[in-house]
Symmetry: C2
């Protein structure tokens, strides 16, 4: 009962804070936030294992942002994930990027954490031909798409933890697509399936508010100062 009560207050406070901060961006901008948030999803997520070419890393973020995939999980073992701003075009600012880099090998720990959140781990590898992308069943549950490095693909640890394997139909001599191309083709196909399904894939009310607050903070100069001031003013406010 207590936690529900507190949640309601914090919820109300968030809403008020959003209204307050929205006053510091243009109406058009805030409307755009509301439009974009309608297409945000955590039903599909991306896990990148040790991607090392900045133009690939950046193009992947850009595709996720364009398709509304909110969370991107980055496993850094041997390679630090760096972004090329000319390719990413600021898309990383709108996403939740979750990094796994505290251990010597972060793959197992990262995938297990994501599995605990209810995701089926779907590895994409041209070597193992299991499910053709066009036949992939999006309705079976939340999907975390796992992609490996440019040169060697996924590690054995990652492959062992995968629940399913996915491949893109190919018709030439070349046996794989470029990594950023692979991500984009799969997202295009699965997001289309998702939007045309009756799955509940949109963010919850709470998730939307948290995200809107985050976007506002990222879009307003000195937002920390504004929020501090706002909270000070409203500290003694009587809510009911």
């Amino acid at each position: 009962m207590h936690s529900l009560f507190y949640f309601t207050i914090s919820d109300f406070m968030n809403n008020e804070l959003i209204k307050y901060l929205a006053g510091f961006i243009t109406n058009n901008r805030f409307e755009r936030f509301n439009e974009v948030i309608e297409y945000r999803t955590r039903y599909i997520t991306i896990i990148l294992e040790d991607i090392y070419q900045p133009h690939n890393a950046s193009a992947v973020l850009r595709s996720c942002e364009c398709f509304g995939v909110q969370d991107v999980h980055i496993i850094e073992n041997n390679n630090k994930y760096s972004v090329n701003p000319d390719v990413a075009l600021g898309s990383n600012k709108w996403l939740d990027i979750i990094k796994y880099n505290t251990l010597k090998n972060n793959t197992v720990s990262a995938i297990k954490q994501i599995k605990k959140k209810g995701y089926r781990i779907v590895a994409t590898t041209p070597q193992i031909n299991k499910v053709n992308l066009d036949n992939f069943d999006i309705k079976k549950g939340k999907v975390a798409l796992l992609f490996g490095t440019e040169l060697n693909g996924l590690s054995d640890e990652a492959l062992n933890l995968a629940d399913e394997f996915l491949n893109i139909p190919m018709f030439g001599f070349t046996e794989s697509f470029n990594i950023s191309v692979t991500v984009a083709i799969i997202l295009k196909t699965l997001i289309y399936k998702l939007h045309h399904s009756n799955i509940i894939w949109k963010l919850s009310k709470k998730e939307r508010e948290d995200l809107k607050l985050k976007w506002l903070k990222n879009s307003i100069k000195n937002s920390d100062f504004l929020i501090k001031n706002y909270k000070k003013k409203n500290n003694n406010i009587s809510i009911f």
Copy 2:
């Protein structure tokens, strides 16, 4: 009558030459040629105007090869098209790459030549929202997809010559995909539509033989010497 007669002889000669050269590669390799050639098409082609980042140029070639798109037209005005071998993975060896670089500005001349071959010119630009990719009618005729530079997109000359405009549905703040990603998403969608249509999209018998000969030449060391020798030996052969 005469030209038909000569064509028949040259056709027969080509076929014999293919058989001869096939003896210099493994059976598996030659079988792969026959498999891949079944999925080659000139119903869809690609025109790249002034792409300058080698990783993009290379990823585009790789995607074309994987999807069976045989011809890639490269317009070089300000930028020379160079390939990054780590990204292209040799895919350019299997394609027909047609370059337009003799004039100061090659765009108009290139597009007009391609139009003459019966292609509808379809420009991809996020600024002009005309036909959504998912609704694009593949049955209306051969398609040449026109893509512009990384920074500024297509030139005015190119846009003026376009017959149709295509856009990929996008749901985020970022207003465009990376160029190699754009090409891949469009090809994935249109090749799927093509394979599931009743359009005659495969290469003709003559085109297949020419291509097979080209692939054999590219795959065999000293193929020029072998062909010269073969022709010398068979010069006085009586065909009928």
